[in-house]
Symmetry: C2
Subunit: 427 residues, 2 copies
């Protein structure tokens, strides 16, 4: 059975690993990048606490010992369900079963001006670009003479009070406190402002009441200006207009306000559900197709317990991958379809970190809430466990230890490509 998996995120990668070296399966794993990205730590790459390589794991390394998994570094261009094949930018690949695990990308809700000017943070490369911009702003600030231009360079606006927005705001506040004044003694960092805009009434709305309150308290203690019920109406690259008609001068807006599923071309548009996701049944099968599946952030599945779909988080993707691996093995053994597993999400809890010794953790069963240092330790341990590869784990741990002891994120490096040496890609 030839299975093509598109996307090597938490879901796609796990499925490929579960089916690796299992008899009867031929797996082709397609991804735009040649590495697995550990999304939960993008914000630490952006704030120079971790190296991009620390949270990136080469796919070919994962499958070096696999006899049945092949990898293709390519972009999916088109699914052709009638012909059981996909077209990438390099070739056509046929399949017996297709698993779409292409995840989600930033949703700018149709505002193309914001899309052009704001920084998303949904890939390692985007996190690096944000890092470069943050550092370059302060370099520029040293020679700028116009006070308004200076203020714009010193202000940062984060849009979206979910985990990503909270975590990056906290990390920026720590940079402002511990690192930047030492690096740029010529600048007055009391003039630097970090704004967090949240459209709803509270930060971390998907977590419990305690976590919401605590995260906002932590942020405010750290000097982040948290604005709730605040929507970004527009942004021209210099000035953020709010729904309240207030405005904030800033040359850097970080957009963490929404995501949308990466729906491949060739999938019936009638199947698109809330959040630009693809409707599936409880076997992760895309409605209306026999042999096309969708898992993770891209999939929209309703169950009695989750009547509005599931949260777009890594554990859902990983549990769906586990389910699908089991069902594929049953299909391969030609078991009775009645016996196939139906998906039921086991919510193990959620967490977010705000800064040193400050995190929040909610666990549903038994219902528990942790804050502060204990939550922060839980957060770090769990993330270390989830990172792929002993070497990456070691380097992340070493970096964290170093940062904790020295109060210093010292990967403040701008590896920008220069136009001068830009290579054409025509090999």
């Amino acid at each position: 059975m030839k299975i093509v998996i598109v996307g090597a995120g938490f879901g796609g990668l796990r499925l490929a690993r579960k089916l690796s070296n299992k008899p009867g399966f031929e797996i082709i794993l397609v991804d735009r990048f040649n590495y697995h990205q550990f999304q939960p730590l993008f914000y630490q790459v952006a704030t120079a606490g971790l190296d991009a390589s620390n949270i990136s794991f080469p796919l070919r390394k994962v499958f070096q010992k696999s006899k049945n998994v092949r990898i293709r570094l390519a972009e999916l261009k088109q699914v052709m369900p009638e012909e059981n094949k996909i077209i990438t930018d390099a070739e056509e690949i046929t399949y017996d079963a297709l698993v779409l695990a292409t995840g989600a990308d930033t949703n700018f809700f149709g505002n193309s001006q914001v899309e052009r000017t704001a920084f998303p943070m949904k890939s390692t490369v985007e996190a690096l670009q944000l890092r470069y911009r943050l550092l370059q702003n302060f370099e520029k600030a040293l020679t700028v003479t116009d006070p308004l231009a200076l203020q714009r360079l010193m202000n940062i606006v984060v849009v979206g009070g979910g985990p990503t927005g909270v975590e990056i705001s906290g990390a920026l506040a720590e940079m402002k406190k511990y690192v930047l004044p030492k690096d740029y003694p010529e600048l007055d960092f009391s003039r630097m402002n970090i704004y967090l805009l949240e459209g709803g009434g509270k930060t971390l709305a998907s977590m419990g009441e305690k976590s919401s309150k605590q995260s906002q308290k932590y942020l405010e203690q750290m000097g982040v200006k948290v604005l709730t019920n605040a929507l970004l109406k527009n942004y021209d690259g210099d000035r953020v207009m709010l729904n309240t008609d207030d405005c904030i001068e800033s040359s850097t807006v970080i957009w963490a306000a929404g995501i949308k599923g990466n729906i491949p071309n060739g999938i019936d548009k009638a199947l698109i559900a809330r959040g630009n996701r693809i409707k599936t049944d409880r076997y992760c099968r895309v409605s209306g197709y026999d042999n096309i599946y969708a898992i993770g952030d891209l999939a929209y599945m309703e169950t009695p317990k989750f009547s509005n779909g599931h949260p777009q988080v890594a554990p859902v993707a990983m549990q769906q991958a586990d389910l699908l691996a089991g069902n594929f093995r049953m299909i391969e053994r030609k078991s009775n379809p009645d016996k196939h597993y139906e998906f039921e999400y086991q919510d193990k809890g959620s967490m977010a970190t705000v800064g040193r010794n400050r995190a929040v953790v909610d666990i549903p069963r038994p219902k528990l809430h942790f804050g502060g240092f204990i939550a922060w330790m839980i957060w770090m341990s769990l993330h270390l466990m989830l990172i792929l590869g002993v070497k990456n784990r070691f380097f992340v741990f070493s970096n964290w230890l170093y940062n904790y002891i020295t109060y210093d994120q010292n990967l403040r490096l701008i590896f920008r490509e220069f136009d001068k040496h830009e290579k054409s890609d025509g090999a």
Copy 2:
């Protein structure tokens, strides 16, 4: 005394550190990058053995405790000797003394076609671009059907048999042997060829006879095809034409065949000497100017012992920085100019590494030669010592240990920017 230093390589950085927190000096250090680059290990970044960050050290971190060194991330546009000022892309800076330490860049000897198509390796960013290209070649090779196109993707031509050329050829040979066949089991690596073209009669011509012979023997043992007396006549991106009228099909040419000094605009062209360097006297003072100095790869200084100028290596730059720091302090104390130090290069030796357990070391006094494992250990220890910062040293050591034990360079990551998210720089 206000000293402007342009370039934070081995020479410029060392001078700034020597004058840091010394009374009477105000230092401005200007560099295009916000980090010091450890050039000797570029080739390991290109071959995925080290992270770019491992060999890059943020300049602001070096001078966090300095009260008199300011840093400017800027490109030097023009020197105006009559007005004692320089113009960068961001501002004008006046000086009492100017030290040019802008180093050298790749010399394509006027062949613009080669410049467009070959890969230089004179900056961290260039090393990263080469890494991305090497990896992408094999990804492409998986789907290419034309045998000639496949052969081009599998061949690599290194031009220049000096230390850089020898070191990158050796590292590529190890990738071919230990890493690539595991990563790309679908490709036949007996068809991969690594050519090293050397225009003269031997590799490592600047070192002793034993080192030259040994390095060539090592390379050939490792499977590198060493072609001596072989000059690249032209390269169109697909096919290398040699002086012998032979040709090699290859989509990747690495250019390590020559360097030229980065002479800033505004310096009298009559002062340009061999290798596009600036003539200085033995006080590192640029001939004809009172308060402009040049050190390191950019400088051309004749002494009785070095009647054709000095080798363009880090120790010369560092010793010149030491000399200049001493002389500046005498100038500041208004000592008699007769007492100023004259430069005399102390050659401590030279070395190059070819691969695991294979290196060559020459020491002039007492005249000694080491090869093999001992030389390799000397090479590693010395490079570890020279790397800036405890943390970088620790990470380089950890990576080396990991690579040595596992036979695996596992930073095979392509962090390319995608056009889609390319940001305009108009903050």
